[in-house]
């Protein structure tokens, strides 16, 4: 049964998938001025994203054990939103520093992607397992729920990739897009928290 809260969770999972891939795609653009556009740039970016997502899954799963709530879920989004902002604000000086200290652009780009994307992607990775925890009500349907979540979040990733690379880069600056993702994640987090507060009140009244 798809109630409104569940629909919201699916939508949030979709948006996080969208943002993750949008940011990953822009990673290539952000690194190019300092580390070029050779194949190893994508090697660095994809490695860091995969690694941090894997840690994020572990952490999100762990966090979901103790009294899971929509408020905590929303807080993950808020935190992700805050962690994405430095990509736009401090990428230049961070890359400048790494560029002057590391000659080999393979390790330079690996370190730069770690510095820029590791933390925000870990937090974004926490969202998937936490969503499963909020949606699963019985073990019989747990696989179906997880499947549905993978579906929406990966669909979000696909759309985030194509819309960012086909259209957004033509219309906006890279930093504007990054800050757009941050704002969206933050607003969705606030929305989840607000919905939780409201439903709590309702249940108290009833």
């Amino acid at each position: 049964m798809l109630n409104k809260t569940n629909a919201l969770i699916y939508f949030l999972a979709f948006s996080s998938g969208f943002s993750i891939m949008g940011i990953e795609l822009l990673g290539g653009r952000i690194l190019a001025p300092f580390f070029g556009s050779s194949v190893h740039i994508w090697g660095s970016i994809i490695t860091v994203f995969m690694l941090s997502l894997s840690f994020g899954y572990l952490l999100g799963g762990k966090l979901s054990i103790k009294r899971p709530s929509l408020t905590k879920y929303g807080s993950i989004f808020l935190l992700a939103s805050i962690m994405v902002v430095p990509i736009a604000l401090f990428a230049e000086p961070i890359m400048e520093f790494i560029f002057t200290h590391i000659e080999d652009s393979r390790y330079g780009s690996l370190l730069a992607s770690t510095a820029l994307f590791f933390v925000p992607t870990i937090i974004l990775g926490m969202i998937s397992p936490y969503s499963v925890r909020l949606l699963v009500t019985d073990s019989e349907h747990s696989g179906q729920v997880a499947g549905g979540l993978y579906f929406v979040s990966t669909l979000g990733s696909a759309l985030g990739t194509i819309i960012t690379s086909f259209y957004m880069v033509l219309a906006f600056d890279v930093n504007t897009i990054i800050l757009g993702f941050a704002t969206t994640l933050g607003l969705l987090g606030l929305l989840a928290i607000a919905v939780n507060q409201l439903t709590n009140k309702e249940t108290k009244h009833v």
Partner: protein, 294 residues
């Protein structure tokens, strides 16, 4: 049935006309070396075989084939006796070879991202390396940034990293041109092989103008590439250009470069901007060059 057979036969006959003498897949692209009679060409990617990167006549390797390569020598009407040359994008190494013959004492640094291109240039296009002429496998943007850190200066910088189908977008931004400008010696010149058509023309012009001020378009044939000459302080007088034409004409004619005709194709953008003044400048933040190139 027969119709198809004949079509197939004809196709084979035509493709035999251009022999592929070497083919390899590099990290970045397919590299083909084709021969059509006396003409040997370097091509990237099978589907766009029309656009050659570099060609040479086997019997007369001195003679330049492409118009845009010849136009690059308009640079020599702006400066005298270059001694430190930087070439970004090697192709067949033709430019490097000719410049080395013209100025044997000049140091020439070639920067090419694809090691396979350097190998093919050596093996099939007679690309010569000496203690003065070197090649380095590196992304052009990184090379220039590192050169700036080391305070290196070049008096002739040739940007030739675009292959017509794909543009490395980080080599067409205001920030990159500023870095190029920082390694340009006083009285030096930047020559860029660029696009004469498509929407990108305007963005590219606006971006060069934002960094270098007024520049010179060199174009002698319609629908051909243009060469941008930028980074000079003052436009040379007509007399000084005429004097250089006179001096260079005999030196350049063995390469089939008609410097006099080329000098007539030079046009400054001063009071002559052919792009809308509100054209968006390409930056590291906004550089969808490939999406604009239609």
């Amino acid at each position: 049935m027969f119709k198809y057979l004949i079509a197939a036969l004809l196709l084979t006959a035509f493709s035999a006309y251009a022999d592929v003498i070497h083919q390899e897949r590099s990290l970045y692209r397919n590299i083909l070396v084709e021969e059509t009679g006396d003409l040997r060409c370097l091509k990237f990617d099978e589907k766009t075989r029309k656009s050659s990167q570099s060609c040479m006549y086997k019997s007369k390797p001195q003679k330049l084939v492409f118009n845009y390569t010849k136009l690059t020598f308009a640079s020599l009407l702006m400066i005298d006796n270059p001694q430190n040359v930087l070439i970004i994008g090697l192709g067949g190494g033709t430019l490097s070879n000719v410049i080395h013959q013209l100025y044997p004492t000049a140091s020439i640094e070639n920067v090419e991202i694809d090691p396979a291109v350097i190998k093919v240039a050596r093996d099939f296009f007679d690309f010569k390396e000496t203690d003065k002429v070197t090649s380095k496998v590196q992304d052009g943007r990184i090379f220039v940034k590192r050169a700036a850190l080391k305070k290196q200066q070049y008096d002739w910088i040739i940007l030739d990293a675009f292959n017509g189908d794909y543009i490395p977008e980080h080599l067409l931004t205001k920030e990159f041109f500023e870095e190029v400008k920082s390694v340009l010696a006083p009285n030096g010149i930047v020559a860029a092989n660029t696009f004469s058509s498509s929407k990108l023309y305007e963005h590219e012009s606006a971006t060069y103008h934002a960094v270098f001020g007024d520049f010179i378009n060199v174009i002698t044939e319609k629908n051909s590439n243009r060469i941008i000459l930028a980074g000079f302080d003052n436009m040379p007088t007509e007399q000084s250009i005429a004097a250089r034409v006179k001096k260079l004409a005999p030196l350049l004619s063995p390469y089939d470069v008609d410097i006099k005709a080329i000098s007539k194709g030079m046009q400054s953008t001063k009071n002559n901007q052919d792009w809308p003044s509100d054209t968006k400048i390409l930056t590291d933040q906004y550089s969808p060059a490939n999406l604009l190139n239609f």
